[in-house]
């Protein structure tokens, strides 16, 4: 009897296992994926004026692209990454490939790779990360006029939209190139960049790396500030969050023109022509800032630190302090020690040695003078320690830049950070933080 049951079960199982699944599809997976790739290829190359796309990087910046795909694995690209990429169309290669799903790969270097390049010097991101943006995209959905893709490494969202002829000609005619010159505001030599609108004077700070813009102004005696991200479109610059001050609202800057000779930007704001130009002093000098800066650390025998050294005449780290062998950072240390009965402040250079971080050499300054018009003036006392030969240029240039007879303004940029700006012409400054 038992045997019967075994046989019965066996039989049932075999027949059940034998149930033939009718294939849902009329073609094999390989045929279907080849068909999909061919139809995607057709769609990509079918756009006569190419495709437009907006990419939000993993670090939050918004970048625009224009792609034209040819049938021979060649792609032509514009991008508003910088003035060059917005003005010159670059040819490179692409291919469609079946990985776990159909994938569009920009397989040789072009503008889209600038965003994700792990070399921070390329895009201002961290080394090893860049702006966290893909160049290999899985194709999710293809509509007649748009294609939705997702990056395979950082999951960057990419939406290609069929471009109109006017979109393409805007790139070709240098409209985007001109718009991107808005970022030249950060190339104005003076620390203070300024414009006037509706009777109010604004300082403007543009950070091209994070694509943020800040406005600083005074309402009565109170200093106000506003920061937002921005992005470009065909007409100019768009503020992600509109800027509102009383009756003035700024959403866009249009008709942007950079004058390389005068280093000024002219643009339209709400049908007003506005000039952004350098200025050599704050809108209002923060009279107590120098004492505040000095006393904050003096009170607790601490110091201010700076990594990049002085920015002078448009050059970051003009004296190349970061290239001193083993350089770690610079410090300003009030009342560091005394020499011959004189208490001195120290501008010290910290380097990495076999013994760890070492404050090896520096310049001593007499106690600073605080002027009634809000400046701090340093006078040198002497050199402390042995300056290594390879650090001499960086050291002496930096040490003597400090003793600018016109002194420095201090601009508080955060709860524990200040910028120290040369009062002579505002074309040299150094960032302090702790």
């Amino acid at each position: 009897m038992k045997k019967w049951i075994v046989y019965l079960v066996l039989l049932t199982v075999t027949f059940a296992a034998c149930k033939k699944e009718d294939t849902v599809f009329d073609k094999s997976p390989d045929e279907r994926i080849n068909g999909a790739l061919a139809s995607y290829q057709q769609t990509l190359q079918s756009a006569a004026s190419g495709w437009k796309a907006t990419i939000t990087t993993g670090t939050g910046g918004i970048y625009n692209f224009h792609f034209r795909f040819a049938d021979n694995n060649r792609v032509f690209m514009y991008s508003d990454f910088n003035v060059t990429t917005a003005g010159t169309e670059k040819e490179s290669s692409y291919r469609l490939k079946a990985l776990q799903q159909p994938v569009l790969i920009f397989d040789t270097y072009s503008y889209i790779h600038l965003l994700g390049d792990p070399d921070g010097n390329v895009n201002g991101g961290a080394d090893g990360e860049g702006l966290l943006t893909d160049f290999e995209f899985a194709i999710d959905t293809v509509y007649a006029d748009s294609i939705i893709l997702t990056g395979r490494y950082y999951q960057t969202h990419l939406r290609l939209e069929r471009a109109e002829a006017a979109d393409y000609t805007a790139w070709q005619n240098g409209v985007w190139e001109s718009n991107v010159q808005f970022q030249n505001i950060s190339n104005i030599l003076e620390y203070f960049k300024r414009f006037t609108l509706g009777g109010v004077t604004y300082d403007i700070i543009v950070d091209p790396i994070t694509r943020t813009v800040s406005f600083i102004w005074f309402a009565g005696n109170a200093q106000r500030s506003f920061t937002t991200t921005y992005y470009f479109d065909r007409t100019g610059v768009v503020l992600t969050n509109p800027f509102v001050n009383g009756t003035t609202t700024i959403r866009t800057f249009t008709d942007i023109k950079w004058n390389a000779t005068t280093r000024q930007i002219s643009m339209q704001v709400n049908s007003n022509n506005v000039i952004v130009a350098g200025a050599n002093a704050p809108i209002r000098v923060d009279l107590n800032a120098p004492q505040r800066w000095y006393n904050t650390v003096a009170a607790s025998d601490e110091y201010w630190g700076s990594y990049d050294g002085f920015h002078v005449n448009g050059v970051d780290d003009a004296y190349k302090v970061t290239q001193i062998p083993g350089y770690a950072f610079m410090v300003f240390w009030p009342a560091f020690g005394s020499s011959g009965g004189t208490t001195y402040d120290l501008l010290g250079f910290v380097t990495q040695t076999n013994a760890g971080l070492t404050l090896g050499f520096g310049a001593g300054y007499n106690a600073p003078t605080f002027t009634s018009d809000g400046k701090i003036v340093f006078t040198v006392l002497g050199v402390l320690g042995d300056v290594p030969t390879e650090a001499e240029d960086a050291f002496y240039n930096t040490a003597s830049r400090m003793t600018d007879p016109s002194g420095y303004y201090l601009v508080q940029t955060g709860s524990s950070s200040y910028d120290m700006v040369a009062a002579s012409n505002a074309r040299a400054w150094i960032h302090w933080e702790r």
Partner: protein, 294 residues
């Protein structure tokens, strides 16, 4: 009766299994996408590489992006700029292939040039902050990184400081090819004990500190194989005079002796294993490099 039934049931069972043979694979194996490697419309670069590397050396130079070519597939690396491909491969030809062919005969590189040379635009950044600039995997594959910054004399925008980067690449090429050499014929085992004291924390030492300990560079401290090929490649790229100058800067007598002994081992190895006159190879390589950097 029972037996009879038994046979019937077992037969039925086997028949049913046989009847179950599935025969519904449609399509042909030729349809499998990507089988035999990726294809694309050939360009001038492709035909140049075919004529100068694939045909003479059976070496496939891969410059189009493929994540799977990376040894560590979890790294985010960018592809190489097309404009750099031919200039870089021309350099590789004149600083590596030609010198070896001159001293070891025309067949040498046909036999030993790696089967694949794979090019990348950026470096591969490691979690510890170091950058991978070159890799040799087995003897068949050489990976070269950080090529988008590559500029040599005669290229648009070349500055004298670019020669540092160019020489770095030449060094890496010689280094990785050195791995191919010792992968085929091992260097004398005594080499490993000249200094010993290898460490995975090599990047905590400067080149100067490594010299004092008898290593030609800090990376040479990472292991005997790398020590050997670092010694080989720096002797080739910097030349004999520069090596002797380096020896004279070493204050530790022990370090100086050890490093000189390593260089001598390299020289003997090239003679005994490959019948290569090292001094000639050094001169040939150095002359080629100077053409690109001075």
């Amino acid at each position: 009766m029972k037996n009879y039934l038994h046979i019937v049931i077992v037969t039925l069972f086997w028949l049913s299994l046989a009847g179950c043979k599935k025969d519904n694979i449609t399509g042909s194996a030729d349809d499998i996408p990507g089988l035999g490697g990726d294809t694309w419309t050939q360009t001038e670069i492709d035909s140049w590489l075919y004529d100068n590397f694939t045909k003479p050396y059976n070496t496939d130079v891969k410059y189009k992006w493929s994540q799977s070519e990376l040894v560590d597939v979890n790294r985010f690396v960018t592809p190489v700029d097309e404009a750099k491909v031919v200039p870089i491969m021309k350099c590789l030809d004149s600083i590596l292939i030609s010198p070896y062919e001159t001293v070891a005969g025309a067949d040498f590189m046909r036999r030993y040039l790696p089967r694949f040379i794979i090019l990348f635009g950026s470096a591969a950044y490691e979690a510890d902050g170091t950058r991978v600039q070159g890799q040799a995997e087995g003897e068949g594959r050489i990976l070269l990184f950080e090529l988008n910054n590559f500029r040599v004399k005669g290229m648009v925008g070349y500055l004298s400081e670019d020669s540092v980067g160019a020489k770095r690449l030449f060094h890496i090429i010689e280094h990785e090819f050195g791995h191919t050499l010792h992968g085929n014929i091992m260097y004398p085992v005594d080499f490993k004990t000249i200094t010993g004291s290898y460490t995975t924390n090599w990047y905590n030492y400067t080149d100067g500190q490594a010299n004092e300990k008898g290593f030609i560079s800090n990376y040479a401290m990472s292991g005997p194989d790398d020590d050997f090929v670092e010694t080989l490649s720096i002797l080739l790229v910097e030349g004999q005079t520069s090596f002797e100058n380096l020896l004279n800067t070493i204050s530790s007598e022990e370090g100086k002796t050890a490093l000189a002994q390593k260089a001598a081992t390299v020289r003997d190895y090239m003679r005994n294993a490959w019948n290569i006159d090292f001094a000639t190879l050094q001169k040939q390589t150095r002359t080629a490099i100077e053409r690109y950097t001075k």
